[in-house]
Symmetry: none
Amino acid sequence: MPAAAKKNESASADTTSFAKSQLKALVERIERLEEEKKALADDIREVYGEAKANGFDTKALRAVVRMRGQEPAERQEFEAIVELYRDALGIGG
Amino acid sequence: MPAAAKKNESASADTTSFAKSQLKALVERIERLEEEKKALADDIREVYGEAKANGFDTKALRAVVRMRGQEPAERQEFEAIVELYRDALGIGG
Amino acid sequence: MPAAAKKNESASADTTSFAKSQLKALVERIERLEEEKKALADDIREVYGEAKANGFDTKALRAVVRMRGQEPAERQEFEAIVELYRDALGIGG
Amino acid sequence: MPAAAKKNESASADTTSFAKSQLKALVERIERLEEEKKALADDIREVYGEAKANGFDTKALRAVVRMRGQEPAERQEFEAIVELYRDALGIGG
DNA sequence: CCGGGAGGAGAGGTCC
DNA sequence: GGACCTCTCCTCCCGG
């Protein structure tokens, strides 16, 4: 495991070329994953298109999905606020 | 008012130098505003420091401030969600 | 697909409940896909973390990945405009 | 500063209510400052809008402003690392 | 072609 | 003081 990839001061050619192939491997993994991610984004868009074709309001549908993901967190926060105010009064209060 | 600042194709030297001084003015205004914004951020940090010095729990205090800013929005959103579900059922539903 | 869906007259209870179950199905499909997308985003973040642990500069790494997924032409044009603006301001600042 | 603040014995009602009013004051000061900060952020956005209306490329403009507010040294180092990575990957691809 | 929303990058804060 | 993590801001892309 090379310690640094930025400078090749005391490093051998082997270390450098290892860093190089390591860099290549990392970039390729990232690009592969991003490709898959993009494919999923396309799938999602397709589902919205299908929804629209069936007469659903896409914008509202997106809002519903977004809110479903937020609701639990908000609920927790709302119930935590009293506790928080107490804490905010400080240890010295 | 110059139509374009990117290219000087058919433009006279006057137009160019006008675009130049206009650009300078814009940048200076932006930088001035950002300076003021940064100063306010420093002031805010100072107030938290003062709070801490008086025994308040800074983290909780930040949370309280954050929630106070969110509460009205959350309430609105929560009341809007039923409407949203209705809309999501689509015009054709 | 509910059996009641055979009847699709406007404004009937059947139509409404069909729309409802259809909405439910759509939301669930979307949420499933978004879950998978999020998992991939996490994987990508992990790879960057690994890169960092091996001494790579993640900010530069991100820049390189971005550049690779980009038309050379548009990048060149962008840099040309930036240069133009810097010249107009007097390059050093 | 409330008159009751003269008494500061631990756990007394006076101490608690003093802490409460102090908390209120702190929160209000912070919210006032954040309001002003937000107003400045809006102003900045407006200036960019104006620039855009006059034909400037706002993305490039933002880049220039960023560069001006940045040490030349760090920018150079960043670009050097990017170049290094690109070389390692074979510059074009 | 524009505006709005979603995703990503950078900045700041907290914890160790 | 350094790493992680949240949050804000910027960018990009879709929809109108």
